[in-house]
Symmetry: C2
Subunit: 472 residues, 2 copies
């Protein structure tokens, strides 16, 4: 029996056990070594079988702990629906709503589900402080001098080292330091478009991308996006001739949480290379995987230099440092020139501090703990939503990151709900923020990268009650 069929046989057997509820949510699968003996196959075959089960969303790997039957194997709530392509409809920018939501972010007594960054208690604050003090002691100029325009060399070297997922395809010379990932997105858009051009984005789309597109006088084309596999490549291919650039978040998408399958990434890059359309890939969540390992970025499949790969430490270490980077492929010189004009150079010190942390601050340890905590939070929030929210609530299935997307009953307007929630000291990001059209009014994004307390739990219960009161 050939090997590839062997692993499928095992995967199918386990699938049956799950369907029949012999294996239930939370049950641990036999360890790889036990399964190897159990089925009398090679370790690799077992691994393949488990990865297949993972890709079917039936099991979830928890690094160092093994494989568990996932809740989604018997999910009670449906997946969010896919929006249709809208091109001719009148646009309606959600600027005011975005302004309103950002206005409540400062409130320290509000449970912050709206923010796009992790809570302070999840960040290695003390270690960052130590790194900063060490750097200050070491630097003769106290950071008063300019950095090179391309960015601090040591930091670029450390980022290249940490880009193991690229298997050596990225060197320090390929990278440009930016003021956070948003600054990278903004500059990449600027480098590859002219005012009036069209840019393809996911729908729902992270509002920062929409705002950058508007600011640069560009048009956003929202492509239908599947909550598990990402942007609809057929739909994209149809509009591609009119598109000047794509801007996607393919790993642990904000807000949908999906991880685009590798074959889709490959196909996407192939399509774009053929049509010579640059891809701006915002990969800030890539290291926050719940599965077995760090997913490949599209950049990995890019031979022509058309993928501009963006990262940052804002989602894992220090949002306030504003340290991001981009590997802009063939557009590198343009990006460097733009940076020089816009801001001369990056602030110094922070680059050294992050380089220090990446080199010997235990970034891998921190990421491990961070992922574990986020995965636990994800299971918690999923459970709470299932428990407290109406049964017709649709819920995304993030494979990493810390964003959850909910689609509520059609009667619910989350923009109205927002005001009630804030008055009760809870917030969230209303769905309307994630499109240039009047859609997603019954959706919301929740950030679960916060310390999980009884207050958080009871706030979700409160939210659920508010929603039920509006439906019945």
């Amino acid at each position: 029996m050939p090997k590839d069929v062997l692993y499928l046989k095992i995967a199918n057997a386990v699938t049956e056990q799950i369907k029949s509820e012999t294996l239930q949510f939370g049950d641990r699968l036999p360890s790889l070594r036990s399964a190897q003996k159990l089925y009398n196959v090679s370790l690799n075959t077992v691994k393949q079988a488990y990865m297949e089960l993972e890709s079917r969303s039936l099991v979830e790997s928890r690094p160092k702990y093994g494989y568990y039957v996932s809740q989604t194997s018997q999910r009670k709530l449906a997946l969010p629906s896919i929006a249709k392509m809208k091109i001719s409809e009148g646009k309606n920018s959600p600027e005011d709503l975005i302004g309103k939501v950002f206005g409540t972010i400062a409130g320290t007594d509000v449970t912050q589900f709206a923010l796009g960054i992790p809570g302070k208690s999840l960040l290695p604050v003390a270690k960052m402080k130590k790194c900063m003090i060490n750097v200050m002691k070491r630097k003769h100029d106290s950071g008063t001098n300019y950095e090179p325009v391309q960015g601090n060399e040591r930091l670029r070297r450390e980022i290249a080292k940490w880009a193991m997922v690229m298997e050596g395809k990225i060197t320090e010379d390929d990278l440009v330091i930016t003021s956070g990932a948003m600054n990278g997105v903004y500059n990449c858009l600027m480098a590859v478009t002219q005012p009036g051009d069209s840019v393809a984005v996911e729908s729902p789309v992270y509002f920062g991308i929409l705002q950058a597109i508007q600011l640069l006088g560009l048009k956003a084309v929202e492509i239908p996006t599947h909550p598990i596999t990402g942007v609809d490549l057929d739909a994209l291919s149809k509009v591609l001739p009119k598109i000047s650039a794509c801007c996607f978040v393919v790993n642990y998408n904000n807000p949908l949480g999906f991880q685009m399958p590798d074959e889709n990434k490959k196909e996407l890059v192939r399509m774009l290379t053929e049509q010579n359309v640059p891809l701006i890939e915002d990969d800030v969540y890539g290291n926050i995987y719940f599965g077995a390992g760090r997913p490949k970025p599209c950049k990995f499949y890019d031979e022509a230099g058309i993928v501009m790969w963006i990262g940052s430490v804002s989602k894992t270490l220090a949002p306030g440092y504003r340290v991001g980077w981009v590997a802009p492929g063939k557009f590198k010189e343009k990006i460097i020139r733009q940076k020089l004009v816009q801001t001369v150079s990056s602030p110094s010190l922070f680059s050294d501090v992050i380089a220090d942390f990446l080199e010997h601050g235990g970034y891998d340890h921190h990421l491990r703990m961070f992922r574990k905590k986020l995965y636990a939070n994800y299971l918690q929030i999923q459970k709470s939503i299932t428990q407290y929210f109406p049964d017709n609530t649709k819920i995304s299935e993030p494979k990493g990151g810390f964003m959850l997307w909910l689609e509520l009953d059609k009667k619910i307007c989350t923009e109205d709900l927002y005001d009630e929630a804030v008055s009760q000291k809870v917030n969230f990001a209303p769905g309307r923020m994630f499109s240039q059209y009047n859609q997603y009014q019954n959706c919301m994004r929740l950030n679960y990268a916060l310390e999980w307390t009884d207050r958080v739990e009871s706030d979700l219960e409160k939210l659920g009650k508010m929603i039920k009161n509006r439906i019945y």
Copy 2:
């Protein structure tokens, strides 16, 4: 005899003494109190007389030391000439030259006359370090959190306090923190123009402004500029109907060093208000005066909110911190929104460090020492140029800041000279960098904010020889 005529009488008397060389370069005028007794007039009348002499460039005040007969009273070298208006001629961006010059900036064994920032030895490096360590100890989040988009409140308050020159017309609420002044210029241009619009600039113009204009798809209109009084208001008024914004450096202009007279500033603001044309005022050198006090910015005369006043600490404290600000008048909300999209917020910590320094780091003391040193350097470099450079060298007469502009013999191409100079470990900024047209080829900008050593002196002698060799 009316008072106003009285002060003129005294001023004219002193002028005669200077013309007849009774008073010579470097001589100290009687102190204000001595002169009061001498002429038997009020203290104010003497002050007015001395200020009149200052405005005639016959005397220079040196804070705490009194008034001295200036070298320009008997200047040997002429002032640079004023370029004619060029509109129809083909443009030719000096991008490659700028890239080349920035490429040599890293060389630590090169005498750096090319840079636009002060040498490290002139900056309060140790004090900045102390402030940074204090801030690190104090901050609970180690700066990992976001700042408000508009910018750190404490910093804005300190900047407003330090804006004494505005006589209370600026509050913390009027200010937005930017990533250095260039980022302010870039964002102001973006806020008040559309691609294709025309922006009036001085000529010669700081190349950063030209680059920002190009990057945003705008057209620069170079206005003839007088080396003592600044932009030619008549020339400006003729093109104003076609102009969408002005971007000027009126105090200690880069590269010409002039301080636009107050009456011109008033007239400029009046003209622009009438035509509703915004003025982007880059005032980063305003605190580096050689005269009696800080000159007024155009913003002071702005009632309509059309002046966007830009400052930074890059020229006086810490270029590498990238801390600047803008008081954008009626365009404030637009600037804040742009900032949110481009970079979310400013890096934290640096804002607190600068706020700390402004509050109790002795900024006034530092500025006093810094100005004294720069003025001494100015007299030194002026003397060296007079001594070592050909007699037909024309030289600017900076009233502050640290930039000197030279116009050499027509035969000299400073772009060629640059290569020879760099091979001999000296650099400077070739004049061609300061225009979009093929002009100023025989000009150069020298930065004299460096530690004045024998090496600097002998490097100027070397430069002088190179130039003489090319003429004769």
